[in-house]
Amino acid sequence: MVVGDIATGTDVLVIGAGPGGYVAAIRAAQQGLDTTLVERDAYGGTCLNYGCIPSKALITGSDLAHEAGHAEEMGIHADPVVDMSQLRDWKDGVVDQLTGGVEKLCKANGVNLVEGTARFKDENAVRIAHGGEGQGSETIEFEHCIIATGSRVIQIPGFEFEDEHVWSSRDALAADSIPDRLVVVGGGYIGMELSTTFAKLGSDVTVVEMLDDILPGYESDVARVVRQRAEDLGIDMHFGEGASSWREEDDGIIVTTELEGGDENEYRADKVLVAVGREPVADTMELENAGIETNERGFIEVDDFRRTDTENIYAVGDVVADTPMLAHVASKEGIVAAEHIAGEPVAFDSQAVPAAVFTDPEIGTVGMTEDEAEEAGFTPVVGQMPFRASGRALTTGHADGFVRIVADENSGFVLGAQIVGPEASELVAEVALAIEMGATLEDIASTIHTHPTLAEAVMEAAENALGQAIHTLNR
């Protein structure tokens, strides 16, 4: 429906083409709704262009180079040389293939694509400012809107990403040479993934973290496995220190940190990567014109259907309060919002939200920890299987870590899992399904698991919780 000369109309307007927005747009179009997707930068958003995908591609390259160079024990003798600009080109090729795919899928599903920045005029219209010169602007009127504007990296005082010595994760992922020395500020998952990557590529890596451990939010025995391996890789970790300033000196830079008592430390480096977290992007679209407020941390609050306070406007993904800032959460929320607009009986009612960290080894978690289960009123029972007792893990040469499964003792219902070890990111999938289905420990234990696989460790952990493990001693 054309509403005037300069204004067009659409059933569903989606702002932002990251994993929240493009998935919402495709699903809305699949539901028969006339759908328009506005993006000001690149299809696929942070995840495909500057996040999940490029980071995992570099991890693959750094893993292969490092492993091949350290497999004498297996009789493999190699001295791999990494051409970083070639590795970058390969990674860019992967990104291009996927972002091109997103654009094609949107079109194939009939989504109208608009390039530009969307700003609300009111509860039923946005103005789109086109990027290019003299491109002017247009107005789009909508019945429903889905905000999926994502997040951006947090900057800390004194560390300007414009400076060539200061890297954001995005800069690190675009590097075409390997710094000899890298200081990483922040030991969260993005900081640790990149520390591991560059350490394997040959950088001397120092991590500076304000708290007293890496990977805050993960249980200490889970983080410990990654921390141990990071140490073995030569990553130097300093806790209880915050980066306060940096200066150029000689050929490189010196990063100064502040300790609790007021003492200072200095670290020489060539680059400093600041990875202290991400903040919502809710300030690009004049939300107030649509009657939407953000909470004190800048996030948009939503209900079970991802509706904002303005009923016809939804929000999904990193910009939304209370759910973790993860691509698959964004996509799920996008689907819920789109289907709710179409009148489907959906809700964001996931019992199991998995998360992965692609360090060495990987971490995969889903559902509740033992403590969380206790707090939620369950009587938790846990079972564990160390990968060093797994035939498959030993044959891959990667046997650090464990699978832990948490269940309710009375009912047997599976409540969560914490996995650290090879392919942990994949192994949580089975447990996620178990939790959503209301499966019991016995259901997992009596399902045949292929030998030899890492997935057997999930079964063994369930059996261990039941006191009948074969390959570990029962508690």
Binding site: P345, V346, A347, D349, Q351, A373, A376, G377, F378, D408, N410, S411, G412, F413, E436, M437, G438, T440, D443
Partner: protein, 61 residues
């Protein structure tokens, strides 16, 4: 609560059953699950929906 498919304030039912409950307007926390450990099944939800509409029919009678 033990063995009623509900513990820690959670009803244990597969995603497809939860969706069906919303579709039929059934409040899952009021349904007695007949599955293992009280897991709520598709049949439980359909039965609950039927008995509700029967009850409604009776009261309007």
């Amino acid at each position: 609560a033990e063995d009623d498919g509900e513990s820690g304030g959670r009803v244990f039912a597969p995603p497809s059953v939860r969706r069906l409950a919303r579709e039929l307007g059934v409040d899952l926390s009021t349904v007695d699950g007949s599955g293992p450990s009280g897991r709520v099944t598709e049949g439980d939800v359909r039965a609950a929906a039927e008995s509700e509409s029967e009850a409604a029919a009776e009261t309007t009678d």
